[in-house]
Every structure is written in structure tokens, then in C-alpha cells.
């Protein structure tokens, strides 16, 4: 098995696949990709199977040394990319030779990029998935000196010069929502939520916090299911958008639900950026 040595881990870089879908009833989060569109694109460009494991790199990426030939590609955020210090492009295949060093720099537009590799990363599986999520996996992020296994390619295909222009959604600010199970609690305050500008607050793979001036009605809810995309309203009036590593149940009113495209757009936003929520129409 070929090995990648992690020279620099980047801000927070994790092995991610489609996640753990059948352990939610044990309280285990799904831990799929934050930006599913870019995840899919990385695997499609490489003609991988749908759920091949990739590296999800947040804010800035890792520096990696490959010990055998393969083909990779980087999708998602607009990012500085260097192969042996020569600039490379995202959204296209890149051939790698033994000893090559790939450096993924800062995300300039967007916040997360995805490094796909032919046949996927062969990391150990925990509860049926390679996705990092502590304490299911031993760690949440890569560290320097870590090693990642991949398949060596005997023969590299010539690189296609064609490049997919995909970053249109990085500019989008409008997220589609549908009503959540407890929408009725806040339906009278619709104007404060829908089509109004909201500013992204602190965020991580569990969720995004967004300040609002919604008044929280009294509700002493029993905990119930939460899915990625659920927008909960906290007692302090904050919106809490559940993302990839979200809890499987929660006790706050679930007022709205984002779709998968909305989640992908959101995953590329940083603290301080603006979004708006809009009703999804069929």
C-alpha cells in the first residue's frame, strides 16, 4: 500500500466519507462531508465510487508527501495549490509521482476544500465509516507525521486539461429552507427569518450559530431527532444550524430545515459573512 506522509496538517484536516448512517439510534453523528457537492465532484472527476474517502481541509490545507504514483484532484473552496512548489489548478485531475510534495494553501473564496485521490484513502473504518469524529475515531484532525494509505497506480492516464468551473455556488448567499416540525411556534415572526439578511456566527463541523432577533416562545420540549440541516432556535434567540457532526437528537424547537445544496453553500461560509433563508419551491 502506498503512503502519504503528512508534513504539515493544515488548520483542521480530516478524512471524510459519506459517514455513519446506521448508528444514529446509538447516538452516533453521521459525520459525512460538510460540502457534499464538492465531495461528490472530487470523486466524480476521479471516476471514483460515490463514497470514496477524501480529505476535507478547512481554512488552510496540509502539505503532503506521496511515496508512489497516483492521481488526485482538489475541489470546493478556491485555494492556492502547489505541486513541488509549482502552482496547480483545482477541479481537474493532477498526476502525482513518487516523492512529489503537494501543498494546499489558504482557502481564498470559501472555507473548505476536498482532496480526492484515485480509489479513495484507505484509512481504518470505525462503525462502518472512515470519517474522523472523536471519540468514534481516535482523533478529529490530522497531525504532522500521520500517514495515510492509498492505492499505487501502475499507469497514469494523461491529465485532461479540461477543468470544471464549479465555484459558482461559492458566491451564493441564498439558502433554501422548508418548514421544520416546530415551525408553528415562530410562524408569526416569519418576516424576521425569511428573506432577511443574517450574519454567520461561530461555527464548526457540528453546527453554525447565527444571531437573530426572534423571540423564543416558551417550550419545554422533550429531546427528539435532529438531522443535518435542521435549524433550531435556542432559548437565547440564536439560530443553531445542525451540520455534518450534529447531535442525532436535540431539545430545542426545530423551526426550519435546509436542503443539501443549502448545507453545501453554508459549509463554505465563514464567521461574519451574510446569508439569507428563502422558501424552497418545487
Amino acid at each position: 500500500m502506498a503512503i502519504i506522509k503528512v508534513m504539515e496538517p493544515g488548520f483542521s484536516t480530516a478524512v471524510i466519507d459519506l459517514g455513519r448512517r446506521s448508528f444514529q439510534s446509538s447516538g452516533v453523528p453521521i459525520s459525512g462531508p460538510m460540502d457534499r457537492i464538492s465531495f461528490r465532484m472530487a470523486n466524480s472527476i476521479l471516476n471514483n465510487f460515490e463514497g470514496a474517502a477524501v480529505l476535507e481541509c478547512t481554512v488552510n490545507g496540509p502539505t503532503l508527501c506521496f511515496d508512489a504514483p497516483t492521481t488526485i484532484c482538489v475541489t470546493g473552496a478556491e485555494v492556492d495549490l502547489f505541486l513541488n512548489e509549482d502552482p496547480e489548478s483545482t477541479n481537474k485531475t493532477i498526476n502525482i509521482e513518487a516523492g512529489d510534495i503537494l501543498r494546499i494553501g489558504n482557502c481564498k473564496k470559501g472555507m473548505r476544500c476536498y482532496l480526492g485521490i484515485k480509489h479513495g484513502f484507505h484509512s481504518p473504518e470505525y462503525l462502518g465509516s472512515k470519517s474522523f469524529y472523536y471519540p468514534i475515531s481516535p482523533k478529529s484532525f490530522l497531525s504532522a507525521e500521520d500517514e495515510l494509505e492509498y492505492s499505487e497506480l501502475e499507469q497514469l492516464k494523461p491529465v485532461k486539461q479540461s477543468r470544471i468551473r464549479s465555484s459558482i455556488f461559492l458566491h451564493k448567499e441564498s439558502l433554501w429552507v422548508v418548514k421544520g416540525p416546530e415551525w408553528d411556534l415562530v410562524s408569526k415572526q416569519e418576516h424576521k427569518l425569511i428573506n432577511s439578511r443574517l450574519t454567520i456566527g461561530p461555527n464548526n463541523r457540528m453546527g453554525y450559530r447565527i444571531d437573530s432577533d426572534i423571540e423564543t416562545p416558551n417550550s419545554n420540549m422533550f429531546s427528539s431527532a435532529v438531522i443535518p440541516g435542521t435549524i433550531q432556535l435556542t432559548p437565547a434567540g440564536q439560530l443553531l444550524i445542525a451540520t455534518a457532526d450534529c447531535q442525532v437528537t436535540g431539545g430545542y424547537p426545530r423551526i426550519l430545515v435546509l436542503d443539501e445544496i443549502g448545507l453545501s453553500i453554508l459549509a463554505q461560509k465563514r464567521t461574519g459573512q451574510g446569508i439569507s433563508l428563502n422558501w424552497k419551491t418545487d
Binding site: 448512517r21 446506521s22 448508528f23 444514529q24 439510534s25 446509538s26 447516538g27 452516533v28 453523528p29 470505525y126 462503525l127 471519540p135 468514534i136 422548508v178 421544520g180 416540525p181 419545554n220 420540549m221 422533550f222 429531546s223 427528539s224 431527532a225 438531522i227 440541516g229 435542521t230 432559548p235 437565547a236 447531535q247 442525532v248 437528537t249 436535540g250 431539545g251 426545530r254 430545515v257 436542503d259 443539501e260
Partner: protein, 248 residues
């Protein structure tokens, strides 16, 4: 269609999940009916779904593909119309969980009772006198929600959650009791701490007990806590269980 005589409400939740709601189930028999309901649906829908998450007042089916509410509701009602699934037997166990109630592990409860230690101890003693039912897992890996807390013992969730609630903490959130299997932020009121490891990803089944099992708490001293913690760190599971019969 009903669950233990409770009316069911169907709601679409996102594109691929169906939420079925009912009044809060409190009785042992009702929880058992819900568990049977869940496993029956899992069996009938197995290829179409990822998982079914239950709570005290809901059941959420996570489908692999987008669903249409009306169509899926008819399908579920069809599945439920054969009530023979209620005849399957379940075999709960009873677990006695060692818990240290030292004030050092009960800061939240002390705060709740504004420093009145006699009220704190009375509350803790009542918890240890009660028997609970493991209703479901949620919130985080292996976090179990226990039913059976009397209404007058409910404690509101904190407006600002604790930055860290320690692994092994036994805590009250509204009318639910739960055990934190990992260190995590937590908005519930901690009343004591157990040395047991409640979730172990290295085991085939990482969970220590099954939904429907009975749980009670046995107070232990700080010395005993330290001793058990040592055993747990060596990989042992110093936890006893017994079978409960005649429960169906």
C-alpha cells in the same frame, strides 16, 4: 392508527426523514410498545432506510431516498395494521450503576438548590431509590435518556450550557435523566458521577445496555469511586446486570 392508544401525527422532516409524533410516553408498557414498533418498522423497511431514532414522544425514520409524506404515511399505516408485532417478547435487563454523590460531583445540583446541602442530598437519595427505564440513545454517542423521573423532580435546562460536563456524569434535563459517556458541553444539571465507561467503540456493540433495560443507581464513596475508575482504566467493566422476567 395508534401506539398504545395514543394518536400518531406524521410530519415530513427535510427531504428524506419522516417524523411520527405522539404524546410523551412515561409508562414502562408504553415504552415497550414503542421499542416493538421501532423494531417492527426496521424489519419491514430495512432496505429503504438508514436508521430509526426514537425519543419519548417521537419516532424518526431516516430514509435513503426522498419521500412523499402522503404516500409513506399510507405505507406505515399498512405496516402497523398487522398488530401481531405487539406480541413479540422483549427481555430487559436490570443494571445497577455505581454513582458517587460527593458534592465535588454535584456542583450543578448545589447551585440549583442555592447551596442547601440537605435538599441536595434528599434529591440524590430519591434518585437512588427510583428505578428508571432506558428509553433511547441520542445527543452524543452512547448518551442514554432514562425515563421514570417524577414530574416534581424535573430541573430546567441551563440557559448557558456548561463548557464541559465530565464523562460519567449523571444529569437531569427537564423531566429526563441522562448519563454523559464522554466529556462534552452540557446544559443539564449534574447530580453525581459514575466511574463506568458507558460507550466503548472498540466493542462490537459499543453500548452498555439496550433500550428498554431497567437502570438504578447505587451510591458509592469517593474511595470506591477511585478504585472502580482504576479497574475501568484497565479495561474492566465492573457493572452487574440481572434479567427481568415477566415484563411483557
Amino acid at each position: 392508527m395508534t401506539l398504545h392508544n395514543h394518536k400518531l401525527t406524521y410530519k415530513a422532516f427535510g427531504d428524506c426523514s419522516l417524523l411520527i409524533e405522539f404524546p410523551v410516553l412515561k409508562k414502562q408498557k408504553e415504552l415497550h410498545a414503542l421499542i416493538k414498533f421501532q423494531s417492527h418498522l426496521k424489519e419491514k423497511l430495512q432496505h429503504k432506510i438508514f436508521d430509526i431514532v426514537i425519543s419519548f414522544n417521537s419516532l424518526c425514520i431516516h430514509f435513503k431516498k426522498p419521500i412523499k409524506l402522503g404516500k409513506i404515511q399510507i405505507k406505515i399505516e399498512q405496516i402497523l395494521s398487522d398488530r401481531s408485532y405487539l406480541n413479540q417478547l422483549i427481555y430487559p435487563k436490570h443494571w445497577e450503576i455505581p454513582i458517587c454523590l460527593d458534592p465535588i460531583f454535584a456542583q450543578d445540583l448545589i447551585e440549583h438548590f442555592e447551596g442547601d446541602l440537605s435538599k441536595v442530598m434528599k434529591y440524590q437519595k430519591r434518585i437512588c431509590d427510583l428505578e428508571f427505564t432506558l428509553g433511547f440513545y441520542g445527543f452524543q454517542p452512547g448518551f442514554c435518556y432514562l425515563a421514570g423521573l417524577p414530574e416534581e423532580m424535573a430541573i430546567q435546562r441551563k440557559k448557558v450550557p456548561n463548557r464541559t460536563t465530565a464523562r460519567g456524569s449523571l444529569a437531569v434535563g427537564a423531566q429526563q435523566l441522562g448519563i454523559y459517556p464522554q466529556d462534552s458541553p452540557g446544559g443539564w444539571c449534574v447530580i453525581g458521577k459514575s466511574p463506568i465507561r458507558f460507550f466503548d467503540v472498540n466493542k462490537d456493540n459499543p453500548l452498555f445496555a439496550s433500550i428498554g433495560d431497567r437502570i438504578s443507581f447505587k451510591p458509592i464513596t469517593m474511595e470506591h469511586y477511585a478504585k472502580l475508575k482504576g479497574l475501568v482504566e484497565l479495561g474492566m467493566m465492573p457493572l452487574k446486570n440481572t434479567n427481568v422476567y415477566g415484563d411483557n
